[in-house]
């Protein structure tokens, strides 16, 4: 696709030969303009800033019921794990011979918990939880790890502010290369 700006730039340069060799957009431009509504309906990723977190809220006390109904069969009582991954405990074990990696001991961002529960959990019923339930069960998992209080409200404003124990435990190998 040659945009008007591109053509103008070439003519402005008065080097017509350069137009032919300049690498510009080469595709047939068959995409359809995506509307804001379409994007909002599909954009489920939540970065550490919390941008995109939906309305809603929940506490660990509320999340206990969600966990008992939807999560405990795979993740075990109080997030102990088995058959699926443990969610709680292991804090302080990462440098030992038997590291236990859980949300509490390993995950650097609380936003990732909301993001992943909403997009993928429960395994057999993904996208079935309400936003309130996702906030609540996220709060519950954080509470199991001693990271938030039982009645601490998790919402779009508070969740990104949660400081995870292993927040500084990662070395960004890409940026430092």
């Amino acid at each position: 696709m040659y945009t008007r700006d591109h053509v103008v730039a070439c003519i402005g340069a008065v080097i017509l030969a350069a137009c032919a060799t300049q690498t510009g957009p080469a595709g047939p431009d068959l995409g359809r303009a995506a509307s804001a509504e379409e994007i909002a309906a599909r954009d489920i990723s939540i970065p550490p800033s919390g941008a995109g977190l939906p309305a809603g809220a929940g506490t660990a006390r509320q999340g206990a019921a969600v966990y008992a109904a939807k999560c405990v069969s795979c993740h075990g009582d109080k997030g102990a794990g088995k058959p699926a991954d443990p969610l709680a405990g292991g804090i302080g074990t990462l440098a030992t011979a038997k590291p236990v990696r859980t949300v509490g001991s390993y995950w650097p961002h609380a936003t990732t918990l909301f993001d992943y529960v909403r997009r993928a959990m429960p395994l057999r019923e993904p996208l079935s939880l309400t936003n309130d339930e996702v906030y609540a069960v996220s709060a519950y998992v954080l509470w199991l790890n001693g990271i938030v209080r039982e009645d601490e409200r998790m919402d779009a404003k508070t969740l990104p502010l949660v400081k995870m124990p292993n927040r500084d435990g990662f070395v960004d190998e890409w940026s430092k290369r």
Partner: protein, 425 residues
């Protein structure tokens, strides 16, 4: 043709097999003659198996392997068992394969929430975020784009995690090291679509997301997306298999398999990585000091002997071919050395396919086995000078909890009775 030319020294008992072939054919011919078929008195008495005397099967819309090859199947790795039968991996049976292309139906595949059954008429790829023009592409639209074809391997970052078991597992090579495969991929350079959307200068990353029920997602540096990334639509000449991401997947040549997001539904240009579950909780490499390396994308230089390999038995003394696969995310394989004495001495193997970057190379070395014990190893070197590390050197770098990026040297022992075992050396 002389008899000698029919006999291939490296194959097990070839001459015996040929003699059996001739004898059986003669028996059939004799049987027909002795039945006293006077009407067929003039029938051919030349050697010939039954299938040489019967009309063959009709055409077949989609060919299948010989029924005698049906046992060639992928190896399953299901860490959660029947609770999540589509969570884990199916590994390529590399011990049964040759050449450098993995057949599509045997290509390794890793999935987090099973394989979705996607109707391409309802599936779209959305490109948005820090772009001038958010665009959505139907599959029909993507199939109309100019395409490129390249051969590349895809290796799961967790491949060879079974080589870290406390004791060496006596299972086939593919069940340990087969979470990688190599295909010919055809698709659209990702750069083309990003240029159409007009990526803004502040964009440095792309969030890539699948349409499986895990909505598996990873952050991809824009630098890679504009380099050799492909929106892949075809594998080995046909449309992608469902387990390989049908109808469309991301291909990031040489980078850990998990980032090659299958069932691709969305690319969001961002200024920072999104810190998804699969780039924090998983696919990060824990060191002994308790810190973890994140965004370790390139797959290291690696090789594995596929034949002879674990669980096989050498049936005779004599000449064999040691063969296997080598690959590197850094580019081309430059050299593969093979040792039969546990690394005391090395010989250069012959290479096939080493001219292609980020693809399998096949190595071969003739070896005469006289009945003694042997310890087979291969060691690959790539064009950047990276050398495949010894197992103990690799292990020394990492926490016992780290299962990613294990590219250390693989050892197979050969006992006096010809049995080949997986060993740690």
């Amino acid at each position: 043709m002389k008899k000698d030319q029919l006999d291939v020294p490296a194959a097990p008992r070839p001459s015996q097999g040929r003699r059996a072939f001739l004898a059986q054919g003669a028996a059939i011919a004799t049987g027909a003659a002795s039945a006293g078929l006077t009407a067929n008195a003039g029938a051919q008495t030349l050697a010939g198996q039954p299938w040489e005397r019967a009309y063959g099967a009709p055409f077949d819309g989609y060919g299948q392997p010989s029924r005698f090859e049906q046992p060639v199947m992928r190896h399953y790795l299901k860490p959660y068992g029947d609770l999540a039968p589509g969570t884990g991996a199916a590994l390529a049976p590399i011990e049964r394969l040759e050449g450098i292309i993995t057949p599509s139906g045997l290509h390794s595949n890793r999935s987090h929430s099973g394989v979705p059954d996607i109707d391409p008429k309802l599936h779209e790829l959305l490109i948005h975020g820090l772009v001038a023009r958010p665009l959505t592409f139907s599959m029909d639209a993507l199939l109309s784009y100019p395409m490129t074809t390249r051969i590349h391997f895809v290796e799961c970052s967790g491949n060879s995690n079974r080589a870290l078991a406390p004791q060496p597992l006596q299972i086939p090579a593919g069940a340990i090291h087969g979470n990688m495969s190599c295909s010919e991929w055809t698709g659209i350079p990702l750069r083309t679509l990003l240029e159409e959307a007009g990526v803004k200068p502040e964009a440095k990353w792309l969030l890539a997301e699948g349409a499986d029920s895990a909505h598996m997602s990873r952050s991809v540096p824009l630098e890679k997306a504009l380099d050799d990334a492909m929106i892949a639509l075809y594998q080995n000449g046909e449309r992608l298999r469902p387990e390989q991401g049908y109808p469309v997947r991301l291909l990031l040549p040489g980078w850990e398999g998990n980032m090659n997001v299958k069932w691709l539904r969305r690319l969001k240009a961002t200024s920072e990585p999104t810190q998804t579950k699969d780039e924090t909780s998983k696919y990060t490499d824990l060191r002994k000091d308790g810190r973890a390396m994140q965004f370790t994308y390139e797959m290291g230089v690696k090789s594995v002997i596929t034949k002879p390999s674990s669980t096989m038995t050498l049936p005779r003394h004599g000449l064999y071919e040691i063969t296997g696969l080598a690959w590197t995310g850094a580019g081309r394989i430059r050299r593969v050395e093979v040792s039969t004495d546990g690394g005391a001495t090395w010989k250069d193997a012959a290479l096939t396919g080493e001219e292609r970057p980020k693809a399998f190379a096949r190595f071969r070395l003739p070896w005469r086995w006289t009945g003694g014990e042997a310890l087979l190893q291969s060691r690959a070197t790539d064009e950047k000078g990276n050398v495949q590390p010894a197992r103990k050197d690799w292990i020394a770098l990492w926490s016992p909890g780290n299962i990613y990026h294990n590219n250390s040297i693989v050892s197979w022992s050969v006992a006096a009775d010809g049995s080949v075992k997986n060993v740690y050396a």
